[in-house]
Symmetry: C2
Subunit: 334 residues, 2 copies
């Protein structure tokens, strides 16, 4: 039984899908910056696996504008995201996509923001500890992409996805309790590290990327890099020794064998390994067929618990910044 | 006037294009691992900018197999690359693509290799200090992709590209002399660093990635990460202080403003910046319209000179490994 908030979110998604029905959508561009971009990786994975015809690309907002993909046009759907809706690069990317005749959808927490004013359709998402998982950005991205596949190609997994997402908050609540102790231990054990790598593949790579650039580099000033589990053996693994910490993500999608292989190797030569395995979490309420897609959302939630513990142990709050919002570096927004 | 070797390379490319003419190619997959994957990024950039209809994706070989993109099929062209042609993931990816009915092209230095035996078309490239730039992997990738655009969509820049590439060795020879002193200085100044980041965008991102994972992490055991110049402001820049070294790549493609913006910011708060700017090199013989595409190849060449200088200064030869080729980690190859 969906809550009132869920009905509101779904009706926003439905409005987008109704407009999609009137158009011919051949390609999708996922366009955002930093953490807002990272949360779109799972949707790219989903489209790659599920779409019979529709193709997609994911670009950082300013790259998207300057790269100027030749296939961007009236048959394109451009999905953009910015929490407060004021990221200049993303607002400009929306304007750019509009000029090309694309259908633009903006996810934001601020309905009156620059981004909201510059897209064809706005989807408001919720944010923070009080938000229900169903109403948050990751979840809405899946509702949009699975809905798109349903409307354009007749893919019938939309309902399974929506039902699974409506049960996601319960999963989060249980996992929060389950990982609490491990997270505190992580904070204590790794609080003095100068470098911490993350590693994952498939639907989980974006989560590894987000933790590396937004949590470790941005919020903790710890050196990091998100390593793709398949690429690991073709360069990065040479950095491994008994002292270098790696956070290994193990998801439930089709690329899990890559993540398992990297971990198996790391266990032979590394000692500072943190393993987050989605198999260990209680995913009751998530449709079995959706588990691979949902795993990165759960891993991302777990990583946020770990981030809080690390920040506490280091006495370096996640809100600490030296440049972001503090010094002048923004592109001027109109 | 092309040399005999160049005629041989071009005739191999022409053979591929003749086969392409007989098929309907709608999408291209660039599939390889590590450095061989990185050298395909510029070709993805080129297709994005130039292709009216054709779409493309770039995946690490094992991700490609397990992700199993739904649009992979008889209208796909899959371009694979492996220097010695024995990278198991890439050989398996070729077999996988064949089973899906795709047209497979394998770039390798070894004509009798596993990869060569498992693709529809083999293109042999040259390698090492004696090779002419025209006959090397980066150059052949551009010949293939520009040729593909010519054959499938009537793009008329193929000749300009081939002429530019035939003059590339002269550019390399001049640039080698021009950067020699700076490279030696780089080696001396940075030989004790534990972390060195690289940064770039557009056609140059793959070169930044290659230097980070293959040279610094793999061959020098120095922590690293290739940061996208647009993403820099959405997380990674918070790691910057007066001590952290960043190698800034400035290319000549349409995304140069992103690279310039990152450098401008870095100069305000950083002190350990290494700037490699393609504008400073003598690109005589490169068609003006091709300069943006060719810049990453030149930057990659310059970075190799820098890598040699760094390895010498650290007395850590580029051939040093602890795991690669030394311990057992390969997927079993048939």
């Amino acid at each position: 039984m969906p809550t009132n908030e869920q009905v509101k979110v779904l009706s926003q998604v439905q409005e987008v899908l109704d407009i999609v029905k009137e158009r011919t959508i051949e390609n999708v561009f996922f366009v955002a910056c930093g953490g807002s971009s990272a949360l779109m990786y799972p949707s790219k994975y989903l489209l790659d696996r599920e779409a019979k015809k529709m193709v997609s690309d994911l670009y950082s907002s300013n790259e998207f504008i300057h790269r100027n993909p030749n296939t961007l046009g009236k048959n394109s759907l451009v999905i953009l995201c910015s929490l407060e809706g004021v990221t200049p690069e993303t607002v400009f990317a929306a304007q750019f996509a509009n000029e090309k005749g694309a259908l633009t959808v903006g996810l934001t927490n601020e309905e009156g923001s620059h981004l909201a004013k510059n897209v064809d359709c706005v989807v408001k998402f919720e944010f923070g500890d009080q938000a229900n998982a169903f109403d948050t950005n990751y979840s809405i991205m899946y509702q949009l992409t699975m809905g798109l596949l349903n409307v354009v190609e007749g893919n019938e997994k939309f309902e399974k996805m929506v039902t699974s997402l409506s049960n996601l908050q319960t999963v989060y609540d249980k996992v929060k309790v389950a990982v609490k102790e491990n997270a505190l231990q992580f904070g204590e054990d790794y609080k003095d590290e100068k470098v911490i790598y993350t590693i994952g593949s498939g639907a989980n790579y974006g989560v590894a990327y987000s933790f590396a650039i937004c949590i470790l580099m941005e919020m903790q000033w710890i050196h990091s890099h998100a390593i793709h589990a398949g690429e690991y053996f073709h360069g990065p693994f040479e950095i491994l020794d008994e002292k270098v910490p790696f956070i290994h993500l193990l998801g439930l999608d089709e690329t899990r064998p890559l993540e398992e292989r990297a971990l198996e190797f790391a266990k032979r030569y590394g000692k500072r390994l943190i393993v987050l395995d989605a198999k260990e979490y209680d995913l009751s309420g998530i449709d079995e067929e959706m588990e691979g897609y949902i795993a990165p959302l759960v891993l991302n939630y777990v990583l946020r618990v770990y981030a809080n513990a690390l920040a506490d142990a280091r006495q370096h709050p996640l809100s600490t910044r030296r440049y972001m919002w503090k010094v002048d570096y923004h592109l001027p927004i109109n």
